[in-house]
Every structure is written in C-alpha cells, then in structure tokens.
Symmetry: C2
Subunit: 491 residues, 2 copies
Amino acid sequence: MAKDFSTREENYSKWYNDIVQRAGLAENSAVRGCMVIKPYGYAIWEKMQAALDKMFKDTGHSNAYFPLFIPKSFFSREADHVEGFAKECAVVTHYRLKNAPDGRGVVVDETAKLEEELVIRPTSETIIWDTYRQWVQSYRDLPILVNQWANVVRWEMRTRMFLRTAEFLWQEGHTAHATKEEALEETYRMLDVYADFAENHMAIPVLKGIKSENERFAGALETFCIEALMQDGKALQAGTSHFLGQNFAKAFDVKFASKEGSLEYVWATSWGVSTRLVGALIMAHSDDNGLVLPPKLAPIQCVIVPIYKSREQYDQVCEKAREISDRLQEQGIRVKLDDRDTHKPGWKFNEYEFKGVPLRLVIGPRDVEKSTVELARRDTLEKQVLAMDRLTEVVPGLLEDIQKGLYQKALAFREENTREANSWEEFKEILDEKGGFIMAHWDGTAETEQKIKEETKATVRCIPLDDNKENGRCVYSGKPSERRVVFARAY
Amino acid sequence: MAKDFSTREENYSKWYNDIVQRAGLAENSAVRGCMVIKPYGYAIWEKMQAALDKMFKDTGHSNAYFPLFIPKSFFSREADHVEGFAKECAVVTHYRLKNAPDGRGVVVDETAKLEEELVIRPTSETIIWDTYRQWVQSYRDLPILVNQWANVVRWEMRTRMFLRTAEFLWQEGHTAHATKEEALEETYRMLDVYADFAENHMAIPVLKGIKSENERFAGALETFCIEALMQDGKALQAGTSHFLGQNFAKAFDVKFASKEGSLEYVWATSWGVSTRLVGALIMAHSDDNGLVLPPKLAPIQCVIVPIYKSREQYDQVCEKAREISDRLQEQGIRVKLDDRDTHKPGWKFNEYEFKGVPLRLVIGPRDVEKSTVELARRDTLEKQVLAMDRLTEVVPGLLEDIQKGLYQKALAFREENTREANSWEEFKEILDEKGGFIMAHWDGTAETEQKIKEETKATVRCIPLDDNKENGRCVYSGKPSERRVVFARAY
C-alpha cells in the first residue's frame, strides 16, 4: 500500500489532490485556474459522456453546437442572468496580435479592436435563445430538444481540479416548449435522468430537490438539483435542471403561433452536468489506498498482471494471460494486460490499485500449471484463487457486485450522516462535530439562509422532492415552517 | 424535385449554401464568422467523430483535454508558429464585466485587466508542449500518443459555413517520440488513417502528398496532406499530418534521457481534421436534388414513409412499418419511421431526398395486402418494388452498394478531371475552362509558386507520395523539374 500520500483522516483536501495527481487524472496548467485533463481522467469523462449521451438520446434529444462567443449586449437582456454571470466572464476585446515594437515577442494589435466585445460563454442560454427565435414560428416547431457538449469559462477566484475550474467541460440541454406543463415535465424528466446516472453509473446516492432562491440559477424560475454527500461530510451539487419559464423567450422575443392561432412566448428549460462529476466520483468512493472506480465508469475494468522469473516463464504466462484477456474482452469487459517487462509486478499492483481498477488478475507459472488465477477486488481488497475456466462466468458477476457494493456503501454512509437538528445549538454542534446532511426546519426566507451561511458556512442544499410535511419552527429564526430542508456545507 | 434552390450549374456557391441551409445542417449566428451547427449537421459530425475516434484508439492513441487559453508569450517561442497564427487570434484581455455607469447594459471592467493576455487556441502545439515538459523525463515516458477533440478559433476575414469559420470543431493529435524515424512513421500512419477515413467512410478519393513550403503548417518541418476534388473542380485539403521535428521540443525545452543516458530533444508530430470535412462531404456527393450522404455517415440510413387515406389505413400501414423498422434496426441499420400525421407523403419524400437519406421505403395499403414495399435509392433515384420479407436481406447490401457507388462516382470524376499541362498556356487554359487537378512540372521554388498563385489563384496542392519521377521543365519558369506536382484552385 502506497504510503507517501495523505489519508483522508490526515488531510482530506490533500488526499483528494494526491489522488488526482498520482492516478494521472489531471494537473494544473500554465493558465491560472485551467487544468489539463490527462488521458486516464479524460477516459473516465468519456465513459460518463457516453452513458449520458445515450440517456439524452433515449429521451428524444439531439446534439447541436452553438458559438463559444456571446456578444456582450446579449448578456444584459435578462436582468438576473447578467447579474449572476457578469462578474466572472472572460472577455475578448481584440482579434489580432502583432510583433512588439522592441522586437521581443508579440503584443495586442490595438487597431484590431472589436466593435462589441465578446464574452466566452459561461453558459449558453442567451446565444441559444437568440438562435431559437429563427427556429420557432408555430406550435409545430415545438418542442425543441437540444443538447450541447462544450467547454465553458467562469473566472472563478478559488479553483480546485475538477470541482471548480475557470474552464470546464460540460453538457447543457436547452429545450423549448409550447406549454408551462410540458416544460416542467421536461425539467423533472432530466432531473430523473441525472439521478439515474448518478446512482446507477456513478454508484452515488443523491437527494432530488429544489434550490432555495439564493442558490437558484440566474434567470431561472426554479432550479432543481441532485445533491450528493462526500466522505468528509460536505455536500456536492452533482447536476441541475432549470425551469426557465418564459424569461429567455421574452428577452429574445421567441414567440409561436399556438394551435388556436394566438402568439405566445415559448417556455424553456436548461440542464447541465460537468467534469465536476469526476471530482464527485473520486471523493465518493476512494480510500486511503487511492482511487476506487465503479466498474461502469472504469476505463479499465480488469487488469491482468503476469508473474515470471525467466524468459520462458514470461512467454508461457503471457500466452495464457492473452487467452484470458481475449475471452474476457469478447464478453465486453474492458481488460488490460500489462505485460511490460520494464516494471515489476509489485509496482504494477500498486499502480492499478491506486488507479482504482476494479479487478486484478494475477497469473504466475504455478497458475499456468494448475490452471488457476488469483483474483483481487479493489473495493474490498479481498483475494481469491479461482480455476481459469470459471473466469468468464465469475468476472461479470463480480463487476456487478462491486458496482452495487459501492452504491450500498455510499448509501449507508449518507444515511449515517443525515441527522435531524431541532435547535440552533444542535445545528451548529452537528455541523462542527460531524458534518453531513442536516434535516432542519427553516422559515423559507433568503435572509435567514444568508445569516445561517454567514455564521456557519452551511447553506440550504435543497428542499427535497418528497411529501414529508411536518410542522415545526425554523432552527434559526423560530418562525413557523412546514417541512425540514437539507442543510450542509458544500463544495 | 425541389426547384426553389440553385443547381450546381447555375451557381455552385449558392447551391452549396442552399443545401447547408435547407437540409438543416448549419446557419450563421449572431457572432461574425461563427456558425450554429444544427442537429442534423451535428449528427453527421458525430458519425465522423465516432469513426475517427475508433481509428485513433485502434492505433494506440488516447484522448485528453488541454486549456482553451494560451498565454500570449507561449506564442512567440516558436518563430514560424507565431508568424503563422498571430494575425488571426482572438485575444482575452479582461475577466469581468460591470454595470454601465449610465445604467444601460454592461461594460468591460477596466480594473479586471489580465497581466498577460490570453489567446484563444488556434491550435494547441504551444500549450501542449509546455505540458509535455512535465510528462517526459526518460525514454520510458515515450511515445506520448494523445489526441484532443476541441474547438479552436482563427479570426478569418472571409468565412463560409463548415469550410472556413472563425470558430470550428476539430481533433488535434499531438505525439512525442524518442527518434526522428518514429515520429516520421507516426506522421505517415495518421496520414493513412485520414486517407482510409476519407475513402472508406466519406466515399471521397484523396491524393496523399507533401505540402510545398508556402502551404506548410507554421512550425512544421514537413506537412503531409490528403487532397480531395470537389464537383466544381476546386481542391479541398481534407486533413493534414505534420512532422514537427524538434521545433516545439526546443521552444519548450522538452528533453529526455535516452537509453544510452544522453539528454535529447523529443521529436513531435501533430495532425488534425475538422468540421470542414462536413463541407467536403456535401460538395463531393450532393446533386441538384439536395444532399447525398454515404450510408456510413448518414444519421438516418433508411426512412420509412407510410401512405394512407383513412385512420384505419394509417393504423394498418404504420403497424407494418413499425415491424419493418424494428427488424432493420435489429440489423444495426439506422432507421426512421416518419409517421407524423401533420405532413403529407409528398412533403416527406422531398424532405428526405433533400436531406440525403440513402434509402426510402414507402408502404401503402396495397403493399400491406400484397406484402410488398417500394424502395428508392437516393444516389441513383432508382425505385423498385420488393417483397417485404426480402428487406432484411436486401437493405444491408444496398447500403454497401451505395457507399461503394458514391466512391466510384467520385473517383471517376476525379480521374476525368485530372489533366497534364505541359506549357504555361495549356496550364491556364485547363484551369479556366475545366478546373480540376493539373499535373504539371514545377521548379520547386516558393517564388514560382507565389507567382503562379498571383496570376491564376492556383497553388501546389501537394507533391504526391508516389514514385512517378519524370524529368521535365517547370510550366512557369522553364527550369528543370524531376516530377509533376498537383496544382489546383482550392477552398
């Protein structure tokens, strides 16, 4: 077990950074706040993309691509939107460089100044709704169900790899509907898609809920979210689905002729998840031995490490290993046979353990003789010796077990770390001593939420989408409340 | 047949724009030179991406992601590179907007000026080689075989949808090698991958060759390319693979300890294709009835249009159509059943013909009775009536036929339009009267190429990668030449 990196106990934040770096997921770049996503980290994102993209298409959506640039004036059209995003925008002002007068390097060519500055998209509602105006005339043109995979930029001051970076990769769905009901239905549908993805692919249980006014997307009437709990007891917003009402249709004058012939503004939704999910995945499952990946998103599901002393043994063992690799691959399992002669087996064990590969097969000369193989699980670190011809039967089931096991473990953790607080003292005590989700009554006002945040750094993560009504009094203000909401400190 | 759009004969350029617009591939956006790629156009790009991505991975490459922004100073490190790209760069100078003093909209916050301006990547050699410096210590760290799918920006003054836009989507491979030979081998390998893709997926024959000095990538020692011929007799560069030598390794100080222990600069390649390929695809195959798509890249390979008068007929016909659709889909064919009651069959025929769907099945009440179906090919416009139960046997073969047929047609066109010119008069005559590829002797100098370009707008498209040596004299200067090269006017 690698011991030259932090444990969760010692320093959770350093533990996270160590995993990102040592597992080869990402690194900081020369550009402030922007990361390089390395091949292994990007491969996880590709698996996420593939699964989500299929879910989007299965629910009737198509992909499209809209410009990176947004004319500055578009931003001001929707008052809340500009308020929410103007303070963190990268702005393009010029379109040419020229040789510096002193001959050293290049400088901005001041004669190539844009008449109107362009903002790098922090999100694309404005440019997309400016486009939808051309696409919609009648109710027959609706709904529009479009998604975009893209990079966006938000000039964050404090950044952390995957969790908060100036540039990040995401998908943003933007849909247009004839009625409020349809738009709301879409908002819920995509929230369910995200919850399904988080639970069944990422193996992370999530709470579905509505955001408070303070945490609502700038320009939305209502923001729905999925909230996950990390191992340090902090919450992480893993996806949002916004009901935008007619705000953007009004800002960009997008109307349609209804069946009845009247001109109406179009109803909108938008929804997105980002590379932040890779951060959530790391923090939800990994342990003090490194990354732990759920099989569905693992770039390598099963690694095979040969053990040998002589060249002859190497050939024998590798031949058998290749046979096994081929057979598992035929079953659709992502296998890697690491037959490199430049690295020792022990180094390889550490490497793949640290990289969170769910299963490891080890084959040595005696295994070849006895037709056996040693099988190790990354999640429990359990090992077993198995007859080779049972592998194709055992491995798929084991991968499923690991997938389910990780989910169950994360669910149990969340349940252990969800507590009710019935007084302000209790609230602060739980927060400081245990963290986790706190179910507490709240008076529903932005003022109270703001004061709680100032005093404790905790915010309302969401108002859960369930029917658990219960009369009580706000833990902070003592005013009446109809239900408990979820508080936590959050990423 | 739709007649409210241009034919190739009447106005080739307008014909192209009409297809892009009417087939729903793309449209201009509110941002100068940037297009919106609409769902149908993007679906073609997704098919291209999927095929190329598999080819890259099959040749050992992984994907990664590097920052959108490049510090201005990085640009100046490689002299040719900055010369080639500085004049068309979008430059970020500020990172915040604020409310305008007069209360109308937002303005750039001058207090949020970047210390060093950031350039939006026009290509990523500089930021990537700055990163590779951290990745490479010894020969064991090589080769690095990485690809990136990304958006890039080049501030072009004259833009055309897909063919030349300020922002475009592409992939850029960036590899690092221990030896010159390995890097050259990689350069050729990826050129072959591109040629394979162009010919076997896009159904477009291409010439493989080397670029002249004038047309070489800024910073490369040698640029290899594939060149295709469009129906108006103009050439289109469809992909490039660059041998970068040690230029970027020297500019960013990327050295490795060789097996022998000496410190050496790393050898580099880069290679890319872009959404420009969608433009090539349109121009290579389409006709005066609209888009024609090769089956391998068609988002819909087979459309089914039901014909009916009564509700009862609709139900019967659609039931049968769904059966057929299911059966074809089981074979992996991309089928769309257009059972919308809001559009007439004639409208649908036009629509899918215009959108280039390779096969159309029509089912009416009499077909249901007789268990037949009408099958129409988009490429030849031929129709046949077929027994329903033969469909699963016939359709896959037909799609293959169409794929091959399009390639053969494009190949015949290129052969008819490749001509030798043996004098300057003949050169100009062919160029003005026929266009196409002109095989002519050239003295190999940049000066002569420049003069030919000024007088005729034709350039050396490539020096073909074949062994056809032949002594002759440059058509322009009369100086000796060892082989014919390919001239053409180009997109």
